[in-house]
């Protein structure tokens, strides 16, 4: 039995740092002291377990999951799909993937969003699903619109979908944002640019996937998600064992 062990160290130079002054809200919300490094204990290796009973299949279909009977959301119909893998390339099965987004006009269904673009009465804006045995997930939704935000005088977020993923241990917990291939707002965005490495930014851009479209129905984008890999216990005579 190959017992999975601790997670690989997170590459903090690949992720955005806490303090990123062009994204103004980070200035007062970034710790000044260094993080204290912890080797994983049982508290980090374990994490919540979800099952198919926790979600409804309709939860993954944002075109219909908040629509009135006979209605559907307005916008560019897309399938967003991909695999959740770890850094070793192994699929992460049975893990909860949650997402949320604005509607086709860039308006969020949230009592704090006052943007003048209208709410779509048939669009809620959130979805969730559990990956299958091979780590696959898929959602059906409408492509979100860009929207303005108060950072600089004239700041616009690129079209994006927020993604939340659990993995098999609490140390794998991740929230990120999925962008869309070819969007000219991506390189202008101070939130995108909190990430220092251009190759890391590319990892957040979903690719147009013509092979997965449904002709005359729905276009498709592919977005794979990579979670931290884990050491295998190659030797039993470790200096410190759990």
């Amino acid at each position: 039995m190959n017992k999975p062990g601790e997670f690989y160290q997170r590459d903090r130079e690949w992720h955005p740092p806490a303090y990123t002054k062009d994204y103004k809200t980070s200035v007062a919300r970034s710790p000044q002291y260094s993080l204290i490094s912890l080797q994983n204990s049982v508290s980090e290796i374990t994490g919540p377990v979800f099952g198919h009973n926790d979600v409804d299949p309709l939860d993954a279909d944002l075109i219909y999951n908040y629509a009135q009977p006979g209605e559907s959301a307005i916008g560019e119909r897309i399938i967003l799909h991909g695999r959740v893998l770890d850094e070793n390339g192994r699929p992460v099965p049975n893990t909860l993937v949650e997402m949320w987004q604005a509607n086709a006009g860039g308006r969020y269904r949230h009592k704090k969003d006052t943007y003048l673009a209208p709410i779509d009465p048939n669009f809620g804006g959130c979805g969730r699903t559990i990956t299958d045995q091979d780590g696959y997930y898929y959602f059906r939704t409408v492509k979100p619109g860009a929207y303005p935000w108060r950072n600089w005088v004239n700041s616009w977020r690129p079209a994006h979908i927020h993604m939340s993923i659990f993995g098999s241990g609490f140390a794998q917990r991740l929230i990120t944002q999925c962008y869309f291939e070819g969007d000219p707002l991506i390189p202008k965005c101070p939130i995108v640019n909190t990430i220092p490495d251009p190759n890391a930014i590319e990892q957040l851009v979903a690719a147009l996937d013509m092979n997965s479209t449904i002709p005359l129905d729905t276009i498709a984008y592919k977005f794979d998600i990579i979670l931290r890999g884990r050491r295998s216990t190659l030797f039993e005579n470790r200096l410190e064992g759990n």
Binding site: V42, Y66, Y108, L174
Partner: protein, 206 residues
């Protein structure tokens, strides 16, 4: 050139943004969509142990409470067992050990009801003191912040906790101790989180 290692890179984090509630707590965003929102019940109805409530605020570097935070808790049951196949032992039926809460839009206060966790095995030898693992995301936080809630009345266990003892500065350890009180017969632990500045909460790279 040596062989390539061919590890994949972890997907980089991005902020959860101000509308995190839409995805993770849509009822709070102002609409009911799911038949069951996840994360409201950490322990289930059958949990053994001392019933407690943990509450606090998250304070930014200007001293102001943040009103758009989402926090997730991950804890063992009263026997010190996590509801996960990689831990040894069983938990009560319905005990998940995970929950999520958001801060009040007006006051920034958050709270969750749970049971006090038991001691869990340490990475090498001995045991960890009772603690709840906490993950904090919000607008302006680029990568979710990991911290731990310990309990001020667990003096002996805290003194031998391997994680608290990794923190070189005793004054900083105190930022992880929740303060116990009683209100209307209920046991309350207060745990305020300071993101930045004086008495900044200890955050971990796990």
């Amino acid at each position: 050139m040596p062989q390539e290692l061919n590890y994949l890179k972890e997907t980089p984090s991005q902020t959860a943004g101000p509308y995190v509630h839409i995805g993770l707590a849509p009822g709070a965003a102002g609409f009911d969509i799911y038949t069951r929102e996840l994360g409201w019940d950490i322990t289930g109805p059958n949990a053994k142990g001392e019933r407690i409530r943990i509450e606090g605020v998250v304070i930014d570097g200007t001293g102001s409470p943040i009103k758009d935070v989402l926090l997730e808790a991950w804890q063992a049951n009263a026997d010190g067992v996590y509801a996960h196949p990689e831990d040894e032992g069983d938990v009560e039926d319905g005990f998940r050990g995970w929950g999520r809460v958001i801060t009040d839009f007006e006051t920034g206060e958050w709270a969750f009801d749970t049971v006090k966790p038991g001691r869990t095995r340490a990475r090498s030898v001995g045991q960890q003191a009772p603690h709840i693992n906490l993950w904090v995301v919000a607008r302006g936080i680029n990568v979710g912040l990991n911290t731990r809630i310990y309990f001020e009345d667990e003096v002996e266990a805290n003194a031998e906790d391997p994680v608290l003892n990794v923190i070189e500065w005793e004054r900083r350890r105190a930022t992880l101790l929740a303060k116990r009180s009683e209100r209307d017969g209920q046991i309350i632990y207060r745990f305020d989180i300071k993101l930045q500045g004086e008495d900044e909460t200890v955050f971990f790279d796990v």
